[in-house]
């Protein structure tokens, strides 16, 4: 077999092996990409509201599958690409330490040069190619990204385990006591729902409606933080209003207690009213009625479903009933007084229910406050918000180094202005334009040599050269001997001037960083 064929066969074998190696590498790369996409998909799936995609799958799953198909297809196409023989030769040379033997021989084999060196090159390359073992030359080893793939598998498993436990708004955040925030939020929502049910049972339609509204906003999938915060604020304002009303009621009850002062039989009633306990006051009033006069209708009285407990007329009626009952000079409770006391008891029980409702609402308000605080804290710590805060433009401040161009220029000019005139290079007038006055002449004035020369001519035919011209030169005069002063060395000041003149860079080495910095600053300023 000819040297060329041996070489080409060997290179084809190397190329196949390289393709296999590439396929393995691209396969691992594709696996890494798919695992990365899977992690992102799991997080997105857990963190966002489900939206419908294709074939009954959610949007995230659909996008994930599409991305996987693209990645795998691209990797397959790249892996199937056939490399050139030149690449195979280069790789074999590199791996086998052949110093471009195969690559050079391959190049020479495609040319028709008549040099006797080429057969030598081909013969040596064929010998090297025949000794090549592609399997040993290109071993299939696990690419370094296998480790990355393994790490991603672990991460994917961890994310898959954790994702259902994460809350969309406050991922991975945990309360101080170690309770996951989602669990705590669920508890608070359950408590709010219980309060809403209680309000419905009490017949407090307004409170029930408000709490239902808040719950709907909090539980609605895809509700933004802003919407949730607004619902919470409205509910809190409603609860606060109810609290204020309850405080006003208790104040009125205290005033009533003051009016009952001095009547010993109403002492218990007054005490209960002063402490704001309408139910205890009602019980005390009931005890004042004779056994037979206690109307079961009063004891089992239920509030009218259409009548709101926050009706202010209850208090007016109660005040009027109690005052007229207390003004009765008889200690015995007569028929007229009995009627008034019964009416007062009924009113007091209704007021008691309203106060109970206000207390329950106050508890609800505290839970709403807790939720609101949790939401604000979480929002503040979110990366996007943090970035917004960081990105705010800072004001000019030369002290902190955040100054803009004016500040920077001011510093530089100040630094230049501090230099004394004599210390700066190039201070002579006209330096920039090249019209500066010359330096004073150094050294002694030149003296002409005390010698006399005589012009002599040599005929052209006697001297070498194609043209044979006459040549003239100055020879020492025979009459007067030359008397040239012999100078052993140039004067030191002349030597210094000579060295300076020969030096291409006239800036002292110690001044160069200063000059460089100056021009660098100038360039930066120009760029701005």
């Amino acid at each position: 077999m000819a040297d060329r064929e041996i070489l080409l066969n060997a290179l084809d074998g190397v190329e196949r092996r390289l393709r296999l190696d590439r396929a393995l590498k691209y396969g691992i790369d594709a696996a890494v990409a798919v695992l990365g996409l899977a992690i992102v998909a799991v997080v997105l799936h857990a963190a966002t509201a489900p939206r419908a995609g294709l074939f009954g799958l959610s949007l995230v799953v659909t996008l994930f599958l599409l991305a996987c198909v693209v990645v795998v297809a691209a990797s397959a196409v790249r892996a199937m690409n056939r490399g050139s023989r030149e690449q195979a030769a280069g790789e074999a040379d590199r791996r086998a330490g052949l110093h471009d033997t195969l690559a050079s021989a391959l190049w020479f084999s495609s040319r028709s040069e008549a040099s006797p060196w080429i057969p030598l090159v081909m013969a040596r390359a064929a010998r090297a190619a025949a000794a090549l073992d592609p399997v040993r030359l290109i071993p299939l080893t696990a690419p370094p990204r296998v480790r990355l793939a393994l790490v991603l598998v672990v991460v994917l498993a961890a994310v898959g385990w954790m994702a259902p436990r994460l809350v969309s708004n406050d991922l991975l955040s945990v309360a101080v006591d170690g309770t996951p925030v989602r669990e705590r939020a669920n508890e608070e929502l359950a408590a709010l729902r219980k309060l809403a049910d209680e309000a419905a049972r009490r017949g407090d339609e307004a409170a029930k409606a408000k709490l239902e509204q808040v719950l709907a906003a909090l539980e609605r999938p895809g509700a933004s933080d802003e919407e949730k915060r607004r619902a919470l604020d409205e509910a809190r304002q409603f609860a606060e209003q109810r609290g204020l009303d309850a405080a006003a009621d208790r104040e009125r009850l205290r005033q009533l207690a003051d009016q009952l002062n001095g009547r010993a039989e109403y002492a218990d009633v007054a005490q209960a009213l002063r402490s704001g306990d309408a139910r205890a006051a009602a019980d005390a009033l009931k005890r004042m009625l004779p056994e037979g006069a206690r109307d079961p209708a009063i004891e089992n009285a239920t509030p009218d479903a259409n009548k709101t407990p926050d009706d202010a007329s209850n208090l007016d009626v109660l005040q009027e009933s109690l005052q007229s009952a207390a003004q009765n000079p008889d200690r015995d409770v007569t028929g007229e007084t009995q009627g008034k006391i019964s009416k007062a008891v009924q009113n007091l029980e209704e007021i008691a229910k309203r106060l109970d409702g206000a207390t329950a609402l106050n508890q609800a308000r505290r839970k709403l406050d807790t939720m609101s605080m949790s939401m604000s804290r979480d929002t503040r710590l979110r990366a996007g918000r943090f970035g917004q805060q960081e990105g705010t433009p800072s004001s000019d401040s030369p002290e902190t180094g955040e100054a803009n161009i004016q500040g920077g220029a001011m510093y530089r000019q100040a630094a230049v202005a501090k230099e004394r005139e004599g210390e700066r290079d190039g201070v002579r007038a006209g330096d920039a334009s090249g019209n500066a006055q010359g330096d004073p002449v150094l050294g002694d004035e030149m003296k002409r040599p005390e010698a006399k020369y005589k012009l002599e001519t040599i005929r052209g035919e006697d001297r070498a050269g194609p043209e044979g011209d006459d040549s003239t030169f100055y020879a020492a005069s025979r009459q007067n001997q030359a008397k040239v002063q012999y100078r052993t060395e140039p004067p030191p000041q002349y030597r210094r001037a000579e060295e300076e003149a020969m030096n291409p860079e006239r800036i002292a080495l110690r001044h160069r960083p200063i000059v460089k910095r100056y021009f660098t600053q100038l360039r930066e300023q120009d760029a701005k």
Partner: protein, 329 residues
């Protein structure tokens, strides 16, 4: 020429190189790469500039090489008052018996096969330039006559980088004519022991002449014939272009620190040096490793650095090393 003949010449080349190395190694301790570099220049028809601190054996190396090679050798000690005529020769006025005057050219020391230009940077640029024509054209013009120089003609210049007082930096055109610039480093402890053992006794080692003029010329011819594949040549060109700051293949360091990059003569030096290097390493073709091996010696004196490089104390070797490292095959 047949393949057998090529084989014989390659073998002859390597045998001769082995002999030269052995003989030079009797006197010069270590510095094998410098010896190889000098021989590479000689065989590639180039000239070499040796740089090193005083006392590391620059002149001794050249003298030893002249002793080993059967060539006419002359030495010129460059001084500030040396004139071009002192190097190339001058026409003097003679009188014949009849009292008639005529000019006669007296050849200077440059008319030799090996010329040692010792401390070349001590002479003025005018005198240094006297070597230009001789180094490039292998001829000397005096008056209106051009005198060819005998082959092989080989200039070895030494330069001391420490004593800058009273020296003149070589002009760029002059530097570019040197094929390689080699740096002789300070020897290690073991090498110093060897130097002392060899040079502080009554008899210093002697060398034999092992290579004649004809053999050197044949080795030169052999080196020129080594084939170079286009990809390798392409690599040498990319290396050269990477040193040019205005080129689109310029390296980042070249853009920052280089004022002028290597000349085409630098690329020639890369390929010719690589050819000799390939033969020395028993290869019949030039590899990119050969180009890489000679890149520093061939290009370090052809890069002109800018002011920024001088201020940052960056030298050409650092820039070239990074370029050689990063320019791909």
């Amino acid at each position: 020429m047949t393949t057998v003949e090529v084989d014989r010449r390659i073998e002859q080349f390597q045998n001769n190189m082995r002999l030269v190395r052995t003989e030079v190694g009797r006197v010069i301790v270590g510095n094998d790469d410098v010896i190889d570099g000098v021989m590479t220049c000689l065989l590639a028809r180039g000239h070499v500039l040796l740089e090193g601190i005083p006392g590391v054996g620059k002149t001794k190396l050249v003298q030893t090489l002249a002793d080993v090679l059967h060539l006419k050798f002359s030495r010129i000690q460059f001084t500030p008052d040396l004139m071009p005529g002192d190097i190339i020769g001058t026409s003097i006025v003679r009188e014949d018996e009849g009292g008639k005057k005529y000019f006669e050219f007296q050849p200077g020391p440059i008319f030799a096969n090996m010329v040692l230009a010792d401390e070349i940077n001590r002479a003025t640029p005018k005198t240094q330039s006297a070597l230009l024509e001789a180094m490039q054209e292998n001829s000397v013009s005096a008056g209106k006559t051009t005198h060819p120089l005998q082959q092989p003609f080989f200039v070895l210049a030494t330069m001391n980088p420490l004593e800058m007082e009273g020296t003149y930096p070589l002009p760029e055109a002059q530097l570019d004519r040197f094929f390689f610039k080699l740096k002789m480093g300070f020897p290690g402890v073991d090498e110093l022991h060897e130097v002392l053992d060899r040079t502080t006794h009554a008899r210093e080692p002697q060398v034999d002449r092992v290579l004649a003029q004809g053999e050197i010329l044949e080795m030169r011819e052999t080196a020129r014939e080594v084939p170079v594949a286009r990809p390798v040549q392409d690599y040498a060109i990319r290396l050269t272009l990477a040193t040019h700051p205005e080129s689109n293949q310029a390296h980042e360091l070249a853009k920052k620190y280089v004022r002028f990059g290597a000349s085409p003569r630098g690329t020639q030096a890369l390929i010719l040096g690589a050819k000799v290097h390939a033969l020395l390493n028993d290869r019949v073709h030039v590899a990119t490793d050969d180009v890489r091996a000679v890149a520093l010696s061939a290009l370090r004196h052809r890069l002109l650095l800018n002011f920024e490089a001088e201020a940052d104390r960056v030298d050409t070797d650092a820039i070239l090393s990074r370029i050689v490292e990063q320019v791909g095959v």
